[in-house]
Amino acid sequence: MHIADGILSAPVAGTAALLAAGGVAVGLRRLDADDVPRVGVLAALFFVASLIHVPMGVSSAHLLLSGLVGLLLGWAAFPALAVALLLQAILFHFGGIVSLGANVLNMALPAVVCYYLFGRRLSRATSPGAAFALGTAGGVLGVLGAGLMMSLSLLFSGRAFLGAAVAVLTAHVPVMVVEGIVTGFVASYVARVRPELLRGRMRGV
């Protein structure tokens, strides 16, 4: 799911890092001091949820949850995903430190789009059914966007990555379906159990 160090060309990694830094800056500016613990624990949840594997045929896929993070956090998805991916890169060597910017941008940008398309509507959703639909849409878009952006960043690094880019996109399709349904169930569960959590108590965003 993540691009390791040494694969992207230096200009692509550099541009992505600058854009990601911009996104993190916007996210932090919109953050109230009181929101910091919330963003931190959600980043921790994102980190832990990537350990959940869903069996699919002979292999399995782990959940990404970037769509869910985007639905709940909006622009704050940038700092949340940035710190979680930094720690994953250092502890597990998933991703890398030079490609960190690209990985953050690839996941957080679709997450922010999810927020504007579905997240704000989700915060007004009245029924669990509506929450399920919006959650599914957010989960699908989060993974689809991440897969597209990842393939694009490989392609920008050189024509030689065409095969890899196609493979990446294909691998994202089953994950997209699983992630969409799971995110939908998460949203409908929260809408039923604790609807006020979806109302968004983030002050800044």
Partner: protein, 252 residues
């Protein structure tokens, strides 16, 4: 929270976290520009020297490298297949070109070298010390606060997750590829989310009760020592020679 167990006392562990962070990023950035075999092998040797200096446990490091290289080799193979040029190796319809194989080798060497360096310099560090180091290096304090909260609560949420998974196992839940599994996982994450957000409210309230005003006071005094200075000079020289080699090879 470090993958290689409690850091052993080593030449690397005695360094200030800040110099380790700066060195790791400098190394990774320089290496991402390298394409020539000479510069890449010197850089790789430098990474191996750091791993030895950090006294990483070889079995753990090797098992991790094997896992990562499975992905790198797949990627390298797809690159080697898609570059046009002189065909040197033909298996059925797949033809590996000289240019493609060279490019794949560059990627493999570069990716492994950076992984080794990051494992040696940063993988041996406690995650909270990394947060403090980034704070001292001038990252916005709200970002380092997010890091510190995340590091603190990963373990807590992980335990909660295991408790819930055990409860599911007791009720004979087995993940399969069906609707029931997806619903169960959705509810599991939903419950984790509800508890996590409740926890964040309690943390905030508790911190406010103790007079939190948006600042963490770091009690651990960190000073750059002569050890850091020696390391800094040696590392700069080694990295400098990598750059010189790369520039020379590019000219030739």
């Amino acid at each position: 929270m470090e993958i290689f167990g409690t850091p052993r006392d080593s030449l690397v562990s005695r360094l200030d976290p800040r110099s380790r962070v700066v060195a790791a990023f400098a190394y990774a950035i320089v290496m991402s520009f390298c394409r020539s075999p000479g510069a890449l092998s010197v850089g790789f040797a430098l990474a191996v020297a750091l791993v030895v200096a950090a006294r990483l446990s070889p079995p753990k490091l090797l098992s991790r490298l094997v896992l990562l290289n499975a992905v790198f080799i797949l990627l390298g193979a797809s690159v080697a297949l898609s570059l046009p040029g002189e065909v040197v190796w033909q298996i059925g319809p797949a033809s590996f070109t000289r240019e493609g194989l060279y490019r794949a080798m560059v990627i493999l060497l570069r990716a492994n070298a950076i992984v080794l360096c990051v494992a040696a310099l940063l993988g041996t560090m406690e995650a909270s010390r990394l947060g403090f180091a980034l704070d001292r290096l001038g990252l916005p304090s709200s970002l380092t606060h997010v890091i510190l909260f995340m590091v603190r609560y990963i373990e807590v949420i992980h335990q909660e997750y295991h408790r819930l998974r055990n409860a599911m196992r007791l009720r004979a839940f087995r993940p399969r590829c069906n609707r029931h599994t997806l619903r169960a996982f959705g509810h599991l994450i939903g419950l984790l989310l509800v508890r996590t957000l409740d926890r964040s409210e309690r943390i905030l309230a508790a911190m406010k009760c103790r007079g939190f005003c948006g600042r963490f006071y770091i009690l651990q005094e960190q000073r750059l020592s002569s050890h850091d200075a020696v390391f800094g000079w040696l590392f700069a020289c080694a990295l400098g020679s990598v750059i010189v080699l790369e520039v020379l090879c590019a000219r030739l």
